[in-house]
């Protein structure tokens, strides 16, 4: 997915993606104002310092909303259908889009808005191809 739009982005994206490939989830952290940031930015959007690094993210979050793709997808996701994406809110006031694992029934009917979801990594191949956090229902 590299293009002229991505010039110079590696220093920012690689540590994040590398963590996902290891099965870990990190969020950006500003040491100057001690706040978490997602998605990662070039300058802290709160204090505009650039003392930014990655820190382990909370592995439990709240589902704000979700959508299940059944028919139609962006190019490159056809073989993923059906699949779900959700907006996850974490402690520390960060939120982001994530993939949602199917529930015990193999669908997404058991997910509830404002309910708890937990980070559960997908395998390294999937993370290499589509680096994005995956969340599921608590065990």
């Amino acid at each position: 997915m590299s293009s002229s739009n991505d010039i110079g982005m590696d220093a920012l994206t690689e540590p994040y993606r590398e963590a996902l490939r290891r099965g870990e989830f990190v969020v950006q952290h500003c040491k100057a104002c001690n706040r978490d940031i997602m998605y990662p930015r070039h300058l802290c959007p709160f204090c505009y310092e650039d003392d930014l690094s990655f820190t382990p993210g909370a592995t439990t979050g709240i589902l704000h909303s979700f959508a299940v793709h059944r028919v139609g997808s962006p190019s490159g996701f056809e073989d993923q259908l059906p699949y779900a994406v959700g907006i996850i809110k974490l402690e520390g006031d960060v939120q982001f889009l994530a993939r949602l694992w199917p529930d015990a029934e193999g669908d997404w009917g058991q997910y509830e808005l404002d309910g708890e979801v937990v980070f559960r990594a997908a395998d390294a191949d999937e993370m290499a191809e589509r680096p994005v956090p995956w969340f599921g229902l608590p065990a």
Partner: protein, 395 residues
């Protein structure tokens, strides 16, 4: 009101739908010529052209930026400035703000606003991919596979959760818009009826949104002419449309960063506009608010105070926003039934607001005595909530 106050004095529109034999530039000049004639101006009196972007083709977009329209309209060395304003679906609102400022300050006399789009004739998959690639942080969230329909679905899921609205309530929004489209000869779905049963019987595309709840990409074109109130009087205009108030809120870039996906930015956008207008939502005669998915519209209606919190979808189900209802809403059929003409969907709603306030929506669809309109637009992944309060007045 002062002589320098900006007012709408004319409009033009081409039917929305699939018109593969209607070229892009042809639509632009036809709709522009129609609007200028409607304003009782001659083309040579237009000194500023504000362009609303197209999304179907980078080449056509480049033509717009590099003033091809000026040349096609025979206005070489006559027009002072022509340029584009772009904020996706809210472009029309921001363009009107720009036009109003230019007129009020004396930098422009007669402004022609032009829009055309060929989404209905362009390759659908390409258009969907383009929409999906934009408005989503490509380095961080594109990898989730979120589609444009999913953005609408995330909003609708949350709206339904917060309001307790049922799938049938949400379907009734689409049905009300179709009932309006059936009265609009320029609507894509002017001839096709729609029922709640048909919506609920259509296939699930992106839960909770079904096939008949997705907007259809359409070709379309609109133009508007604005001038000063003093000039409108000189032209012998009887009725004009003024901008009574405006407000806005840019709430996010990525839908993943919207804190309240079921609400968006409407509650922040509304109050300043109503305060400037000196009237409130209870005084509105019509509403024309961005509606590419049902919950985008219900969140706008509620956020702008036109329905109690959480009640808009149920009020749709009771027919309160339908033809003959308490508050006629999206009287052209909206994006969902007049057709999603890209950035032009908002322009079409605004044009309809102006048309209604000028009393020229035709015998079937004109809202009798309509003088106050609440117009709202939203761009990208519903990144902003823009409101214009329009008023029909004598010049």
């Amino acid at each position: 009101m002062s002589d320098t106050e900006p007012v709408f004095i004319g409009f033009g529109e081409q039917p929305s739908g699939r018109y593969p034999n209607r070229p892009f530039m042809g639509d632009l000049v036809r709709v522009g010529a129609a609007a200028v004639k409607d304003a009782d101006l001659t083309m040579g009196e237009i000194d500023t052209i504000l362009l609303i972007p197209c999304l179907h083709s980078p080449a056509d977009q480049a033509d717009l930026v590099f003033s091809r329209v000026v040349e096609e309209l025979g206005l070489n060395k006559k027009v002072k400035a022509q340029y584009m304003v772009h904020s996706g679906g809210s472009t029309s609102d921001n363009t009107i703000r720009t036009a109003a400022g230019l007129i009020e300050s004396g930098q422009a006399k007669n402004v022609l606003v032009l829009q055309a789009e060929k989404w209905g004739s362009a390759p659908v998959k390409e258009m969907i991919d383009m929409l999906t690639a934009n408005g989503i942080p490509r380095e961080w969230e594109k990898q989730s596979g979120v589609s444009f329909n999913a953005v609408g679905a995330l909003i609708q899921q949350r709206y339904m959760h917060e309001s307790g609205s049922t799938p049938a309530d949400m379907a009734s929004v689409c049905v009300a818009l179709r009932d309006w489209a059936n009265l609009n000869p320029n609507a894509m779905y002017k001839d096709k009826k729609l029922t709640v049963e048909q919506v609920l019987g259509s296939k699930m595309v992106t839960d909770p949104i079904r096939a008949f709840e997705c907007p259809m990409l359409a070709d379309g074109a609109c133009a508007l002419v604005l001038t000063s109130r003093g000039n409108a009087r000189k032209l012998g205009k009887d009725r004009v449309v003024r901008i009574a108030g405006e407000g806005g809120c840019v709430s996010h870039y990525s839908i993943g960063q919207e804190r309240e996906v079921g609400k968006l930015g409407w509650e922040i956008a509304g109050p300043a506009a109503y305060e400037a207008a000196g009237w409130g939502p209870e005084d509105a005669d019509i509403a024309e608010i961005y509606d590419s998915y049902a919950a985008v519209l219900t969140s706008g209606i509620e956020g702008l105070g036109l329905a109690p919190k959480g009640e808009a979808a149920r009020m749709f189900a009771r027919g309160e926003f339908s033809p003959g209802g308490r508050l006629p809403t999206n009287t052209n059929g909206g994006l969902l039934s007049a057709g999603h003409t890209g950035v032009g969907g908002g322009t079409a709603l605004l044009t309809e607001g102006v048309r209604q306030l000028l009393g020229r929506a035709g015998p079937e669809r004109q809202v009798e005595g309509a003088t106050r309109a609440v117009c709202g637009g939203s761009g990208g992944t519903y990144m902003d909530s823009q409101v214009l309060l329009l008023e029909g007045v004598s010049a």
